[in-house]
Amino acid sequence: MFLDLDKKKSSSIAAVDSTGMQISYGELNGFANEFYSAINKRTLIFILSENTIGSLAGYVASLSVKVVPLLLSSKTDKEVLDKLINLYRPEYLWLPERLSGDFNYDFSFRKFDYVLLKTGMEAFQLNDNLSLLLTTSGSTGSPKLVRHSYSNVEENARNVAAFFELSPVERAIAILPMQYTMGLSVITSHLFAGSAVLLVNGTLTDKSFWSFLKEHRATSFTGVPYSFEVLSKLRFTGMDLPDLKLLTQGGGKLSNKLFLEFAEYAHRTGRKFIATYGQTEGTARMAFLPADMALAKPGSIGKAIPNGELSLINENGEEIVETEASGEMVYRGPNVTLGYALTGEDLIKGDENNGVLFTGDIAKRDAEGYYYIIGRLSRFLKLYGFRISLDETEQIVKSVFDIDCICTGNDEMMKIYITDRNKKDQIHNYVVDKTGLFHKAIEIEIIDEIPKNASGKTIYSNLSLQ
């Protein structure tokens, strides 16, 4: 069974959420049967996720009975959602009951404040190995999905549980959204280990989060760079949290100052701080820096996870053999996903990656074989832990406002260059709405003309913030 869930102690708590609901491993397994009797076949389902028991149970049941879910945020814009429904034709939706009024589909059953709705659509053919679909970039509404196999998800859970040394006594804070690859990895790895997952459907600045963390005596916390920025600001390292033993980080590069702040805190107080590296395409995690190396190698993503392998290639695609070198980082391992889907017809496709992932990240390898991310090949930003494609944002602005524009930026902010002063506020509001980004993270600048070369291609290097 999925993650060997039927072999866990059935009375143990699998998850608790911030509404106070909880579920044992036995109940989680029982629910999978109930879920299957309602659906009774292998098909496609959309789960409108949030970090609650209902959402978690729907995900676990789907994977257990081989129904294939696409996880989307429950806050997904209705227009974006309808577009995806038309494109991928899910036969079922599993969503928070309070949202069910927005849909004109047949009611099937309810449980844990979630409902199952039947769309009446006929699903596309699904490849036998296809287990799970996740989006690649936040909420810009890209139809591009990452296709995961059953072994991708299992291997990620097994490996992460191994290198974090997880056991059934763990109580992990799961505050990163479960439709986000690393949020999901926190959940699956702890379920694999038979631990309890503390689901938080809120943010670090909620007063209720801190009482929840203390009440349930959380033993670990996983965050993205922005989470650590907030923790630092909240003077986390001075808090009295005797049960919290493990801090893990992923989702982009932590500044050296914050890295050292948390590595030193962990060292001083007998805790572990583990930096990791991953992408949706590699089922969340591909590299990690062991806790005892954090102070010796600040800023490093460490080495490949168990059963994985990292290497560097040059511009000609040839592997660089020297130890100390930099180049594009390539990952090989059992957690490399099958490939992408752009339409429903792609769901029948098999493995297109064959276990090799060209990460698009430029890395440096030191004399001892530790890796450091130093740049990126492709045009996307990681803002607040979410991947925002610059090309995609550019396309959206161009088509909606019928103007030419350029998007650039760094991991702190996105800049959009336009020539029409009158559209500045409109575009700003629109992009804020569509991406869900904080308004100050997006800046619109007016320029005289969009720089182009002789063949009409945009010249990005002429603009600042590259």
């Binding site: 600045t205 907030v230 600001k233 904080f438 308004h439 993270a441």
Partner: protein, 78 residues
């Protein structure tokens, strides 16, 4: 500028709301006052009034009105 004017200005620019909205403005009552907006607000308050706000007060800073009471603890009278 009076303290009240400075205080209002912080909310107006950080959350892009109108003056009429201020009195009823609460944490998460508008989409921009989320976790990220909250940290932006705290940073702006600390900078403007040259204070350092405690953890407990940061997570209790739940509205425009109740914030005024919190600032009193730091000898900032709005």
């Amino acid at each position: 500028m009076s303290n009240l004017e400075k205080y209002d200005e912080i909310f107006l620019t950080n959350f892009r709301v109108t003056k009429e909205q201020l009195n009823t403005l609460e944490y998460q009552s508008v989409s921009v006052w989320d976790s990220i907006g909250h940290m932006g607000l705290i940073a702006a308050l600390e900078e403007t009034f040259e204070i350092m706000i405690d953890t407990e007060d940061i997570i209790s800073y739940a509205s425009y009105e109740n914030g005024k009471k919190i600032l009193l603890k730091y000898n900032v009278e709005i």
